[in-house]
């Protein structure tokens, strides 16, 4: 890297950190496992209050990117700032605690603690971070969090092994939301759910985002999710983020992978579904107007 380039990079970082409306800023990220480089010179900004969808083919390092941001993976190079705070390698750092309290993470399989009930799982972050919340209030909070994510009340005293895949995801979401985070990481939340369950999950995410003003970092393969709830979409390919924007903006780009992704048979089906919805809504509005 020449001196010029380095300076330019530093300036970019400063700009991103300084601006208030950026929740996550990743600069020059490099991750590699052995000989295999997953990310190289990757830049990404997530704005506050948006739902950012992250897409990419299998093995393009979507999950690795998420793990780098939350500090589970220490990158070889590059900087990660969350709410303006440098987070690289600081997962166990006490000073970064304030930031960690502000995010919730839903892992792919739910990653519930198998020896605790669903409700106790939801209580873990509260118990760890806020011991001043008494046991009665804590139980109540766990209860409404469980209801908020759309789980039935009977799910509370169940152990994760007794739950279906979709319920595990919801329980994982309830735990991720336990502290009312500002920032929510979702790793393939709708993978493995039936279409009705997936749509309900999307709906729930959108509602929560609107009610709580969340910033959501959403890794997904689900085109319907992208179309229905994401404000912007970041595309991971060639070891970096090749484009970020609304789906319409991405469609205007002439990148073969993006074109194939959104204009493939599944992409077209999702587009058609969205325009049908919009058409129906418009027709209803018209009908309302005539009355």
């Amino acid at each position: 890297m020449t001196a010029n380039e380095r300076q330019a990079k530093e300036e970019r970082i400063e700009r991103a950190v300084a601006s208030d409306d950026i929740a996550i800023s990743v600069r020059g990220l490099k991750n590699s496992f052995g000989d295999q480089t997953v990310h190289e010179n990757l830049d990404l900004d997530v704005r506050k209050g948006e739902i950012l969808g992250v897409v990419g083919g299998s093995g393009t390092g979507k999950s690795v990117l998420m793990r780098s941001i939350i500090g589970l993976q220490v990158p070889d190079e590059g900087e990660v700032h969350v709410f303006g705070e440098d987070m690289v390698g600081r997962l166990d750092d006490d000073e970064a605690l304030a930031i960690r309290k502000r995010w919730g993470v839903l892992f792919q399989g739910g990653a519930l603690f198998s020896t605790l009930t669903v409700a106790e799982n939801v209580e873990v972050p509260i118990r760890e971070y806020y011991p001043n919340i008494g046991p009665v209030l804590r139980d109540e909070i766990a209860a409404y969090k469980i209801r908020m994510t759309g789980l039935p009340p009977e799910a509370g005293p169940k152990y994760p092994a007794e739950l279906s895949g979709g319920m595990k995801k919801r329980a994982g979401l309830a735990r991720a939301l336990a502290l009312d985070p500002d920032l929510l990481f979702l790793d393939e939340p709708t993978a493995g759910l039936d279409p009705i369950g997936a749509a309900a999950f999307d709906d729930q995410t959108r509602k929560l985002q609107e009610t709580l003003g969340l910033t959501v970092f959403l890794i997904t393969h689900d085109l319907d999710t992208l179309y229905s709830i994401c404000d912007r979409v970041a595309v991971l390919a060639d070891k970096k983020v090749i484009a970020v924007g609304t789906i319409d903006e991405l469609l205007a780009l002439d990148h073969p992978w993006i074109q194939e992704y959104f204009n493939g048979p599944r992409g077209r089906a999702a587009t058609a579904a969205v325009s049908r919805e919009r058409g129906k809504a418009a027709a209803e509005k018209q009908a309302d107007g005539r009355q």
Partner: protein, 370 residues
């Protein structure tokens, strides 16, 4: 940073009480607010939330529960605040946190009953599993082409060859310990030469095979249980079955067979090394030269001592292999169970090996091999 949450109680002119909330009502800034709200007793005319800057659902919940408890209402405040309080109020429904409480007496009673049922089930299951292995063996005898020689040979290496180092070291040290302890006692009678009898007969008949069995149970039995348990969890075993591969043939039999074949070899190896250890101590501290040691050994150790060890070894191997695989295949629910089953496999194998060893001792005495 944000202003901490605060509350003020005010009496209104008409005698009603108003609680004014202010600051940030989020989990990070709540501090002792929940307790202070709980301490307020009614009647309260209303809770004024107009001065709240920011609120999250946990703040909204604490307000909602107070409103419900005091049977009062919320006044003022932005639409956001009201919407949040309304939103959490809508989903206010009791949810059980833990499984229902059972009194300790009932629980202990239940646990004893469960343990008894489990033991019986395990015994029956183990027998059934043993039967399954026999059936598989019979099937392979009729269709030898299905036999997975590669899998078995691979296990030979893991179970046998890799264990040579640790078993050798352990046996050598045990040989030394027996010789040393024996020499101390026998010296009182001036019979130090009998140390050779002690080392030779004890290692061939009992200790060589027994210690090897314990080591193999810890090394390989536990590994079998953990491997098969993990494969059950990841549905690998189910996938195998759907493809038409019998897990008994592909997983259980190679492992069991490997231990059954390796146990006599390892047991013999262990006995030899233990005798070398004993001989080493005799040479160093009893001044018995190795030549004399070997000569004496040939005189006092009958050949049936070797057979006693070699007959027991494959049986112990069978027990280790079957309990390891059986426990592994019982895993159903979660990762924690893999750990429990692994422990159970080792404990069960060692226990059964020692029980059977006692029976063998009686049996061999009965047939006159003593």
């Amino acid at each position: 940073m944000n202003k901490a949450a605060d509350l003020v109680e005010e009496s209104r002119d008409d005698g009603g009480k108003v609680i004014r909330l202010s600051g940030t009502w989020s989990i990070a800034c709540l501090n002792d607010m929940p307790n202070r709200l709980d301490a307020i007793s009614g009647p309260v005319a209303c809770i004024d939330v107009a001065d709240i800057d920011h609120m999250d659902t946990i703040g909204a919940w604490t307000i909602h529960r107070t409103v419900k408890r005091l049977e009062t209402e919320v006044s003022g405040g932005s639409t956001d605040c009201k919407r949040l309080i309304g939103a959490v109020g809508k989903i206010d429904e009791p949810v059980d946190i833990r499984p229902t409480y059972v009194s300790p007496f009932n629980r202990v009673l239940g646990q004893i009953g469960e343990a008894v049922i489990n033991s019986v089930n395990t015994l029956v299951g183990l027998l059934g599993f043993f039967g399954g292995v026999l059936v598989t063996v019979w099937g392979l005898i009729r269709h030898p082409s299905r036999f997975r020689i590669n899998a078995v040979v691979q296990r030979f290496e893991v179970v046998g060859v890799s264990a040579l180092g640790i078993i050798g070291l352990m046996s050598f040290l045990i040989g030394i310990v027996i010789a040393q302890q024996g020499a101390v006692q026998l010296r009182q009678f001036g019979m130090e030469m009998l140390t050779i009898n002690l080392v030779g007969r004890l290692t061939f008949r009992e200790l060589g095979v027994l210690m090897t069995a314990i080591m193999v149970a810890g090394r390989s039995g536990s590994a079998f249980a953990a491997q098969l348990g993990t494969m059950k969890l990841t549905e690998e075993v189910d996938a195998m079955r759907t493809i038409g591969v019998s897990p008994m043939e592909a997983l259980v039999l190679p492992r069991t067979l490997a231990v059954v074949v390796m146990m006599p070899l390892l047991g013999f190896y262990s006995s030899i090394i233990a005798i070398i250890g004993g001989g080493f101590l005799c040479a160093v501290s009893l001044d018995i030269p190795p030549i004399t040691f070997v000569q004496r050994l040939r005189e006092v150790v009958p050949i049936h001592d070797l057979w006693v060890g070699l007959i027991k070894a494959p049986v112990f191997g069978l027990i280790i292999g079957i309990s390891g695989c059986f426990q592994g295949m019982q895993v159903k629910a979660n990762a924690e169970e893999v750990g429990l089953r692994t422990t159970a496999a080792v404990v069960q194998a060692i226990f059964l090996v020692i029980v059977l060893d006692a029976f063998f001792a009686v049996f061999f005495t009965w047939v006159g091999w003593n």
